[in-house]
Amino acid sequence: MTTARALSIGFVGNVVTNPFGKVASRLADLAAVSCEHLPIGQIEQVLAGPAAADVLIVHLDHRWFFDVAPGEAAVARARGLADLVSARLVRAPGTVILNTVPFVPVSSVESDLHDQLEALARVNAVLFDLARSQERVSVVDAAGALALLGFANAFRERNRYMYQMPYALAAVDALNERYADAIAARLRARRKVVVVDADNTLWGGVVGEDGVENLEVDSDYPGIVHTQLQRQLLRLKGLGILLCAVTKNNEEDFRAVFTQRAMPLRLDDFVAYRSNWTEKSENIRDLAATLNLGLDSFIFLDDNPFEIEEVRARLPGVECHLFDRTRPEQALTLLDGIASLRARNVTAEDLAKTEQYRGEAQRQELQRSAASMDDYLASLKIRVHVARNNPGSLRRVTQLINKTNQFNLTTRRYTEDEVATAMQEGGVYAARVVDRFGDMGIVGVAIVRGGELETFLMSCRALGRRIEAQILRHVCRQEGDRDLKARYSPSAKNRMVESFLDDNGFEPLSAGPEGKTYRLTRGPDDTPYIHIVAE
């Protein structure tokens, strides 16, 4: 979770936007939100005008694109809108949120209806293309949200024409939920791991009692419920989520299910699992240590309310969900409804994560067998590729800045625009770590501007190998500023870096409740087994 921050939201639309102001309360745990409702109908003027808000929500119903039936002119209007938004993004910071067009075409002529449906899809496609090419654009699925509610319950046609407010309150609530999700996905760190129980969750039945062959996991009810859950988990894995399993079973029984039954999930789809008779909270804690992830990265799914309560009570940071196989209509919408799994997009880094964490587990095995820590670290053959001011790393650098809490000297958050500005005004270093077990991707960021190291952070998964000190050494040498200043600003989570600068050749200048300031003296010692490759 990111630190609470001030966030301004501007609304403009061809409908009265005031009821959308309630989105602020849905974001209260993430930001102190202020709302401004801009003049109704002034879409082009607002988009072409100065940026006044961190987030601009542009809500358009179908009447902005067409009068009675979507056609080529509506597609052209959408393209015009996309051009206006793109031009604004070049000119001004902030995020723009658009919406799919909530409209059900009707016609007395079948072919005309098909043409309308196609045109409507093309209008939406223009918006999706825009979001694909512009990181700072989101498109919420207003049409989908209102369809789930039922268009008859969602629309108030009399109000649309009399008051420019076409939605029932329930529809406004549904839209506000989508807006809040879209904004929250940009503000908070996504949970990374889904830990799933096995018996009566991954499959129906208890493997140790019923036997592998009698487990329900197939294409008929009730086995289809478990098959579908596995398919959903597999899809989540494809979207960058790590899968783990914890189960109270003999390990050989658990493994046998994967070798003897044809199921969507294979054993190696899980980055790690624990099959034993230990409390599940202990096993999840152990998984967190193995993966070098905080418990607040974890989601736990189990069919047993007792296990859910056990984990919830002992590991309050873990988000727990009951998987009730007897209510498939709820159980199979469970994963889609978990807000903390949502993200604006999935980077290549996210998708490579499964392999990276598997590599981490292998490193731990090697560490256990090495004669000494130095032998172990030297055997990893670590190379750190450090790029300075590389615009190609902008997205990943911003993502890392906004989700790293523990090894973070200042916990200062930046938007993508602010990182781009820092690249122009100083040095933004992105460090990618590679060792014999694989490419960990960009795991370290340093920002130096105005003679000060204003940000220095490392992903936890790369810690414990002196990589961080070697990167700092490289940054100090590159900057060539003998008087480089630095700062440690304490937060609730960054105690681990409290003495990092003291330990790496920086001299304290001042100390107080706001933290400590430093001046570079000799800098960090060289760590010969870590090779820096400047890019």
Binding site: N18, P19, R156, R158, N159, Y163, M165, Y167, A168, L169
Partner: protein, 103 residues
């Protein structure tokens, strides 16, 4: 909640729902000055047209919950500065009750 059955009790409940909705919105809008309004007072001059739309939307929803079905409240008189029932607060509650009575 079980919807009231007789027409008069439905109307009374709807009027009460309209009052409760206004009280809630006064809090949402951060307009404690409106809490002091009595049944003879003018609401129309004290809120803008967007707030009127919000009041209408919220009242429709609350009435729907109270009487068990959707009752359209929109009418061209509401935003009419001379004819609006919001010119006298009690008229607004009566207007809502009448709309429910008419079905």
């Amino acid at each position: 909640m079980t919807p009231p059955t007789s027409t008069s009790s439905r109307s009374e409940s709807a009027a009460a729902a309209a009052r409760a909705t206004l009280d809630r919105l006064i809090e949402t809008w951060g307009r404690p000055d409106l809490s002091a309004l009595g049944p003879e007072d003018d609401l129309f001059d004290r809120i803008d047209s967007f707030a009127v739309v919000e009041l209408l939307l919220e009242t429709e929803s609350e009435v729907e919950k109270t009487v068990g079905h959707y009752v359209p409240l929109a009418d061209e008189s509401i935003l009419d500065s001379t004819r609006s029932p919001l010119r006298r607060l009690q008229n607004w509650f009566d207007y809502v009750a009448d709309a429910v009575a008419r079905g």
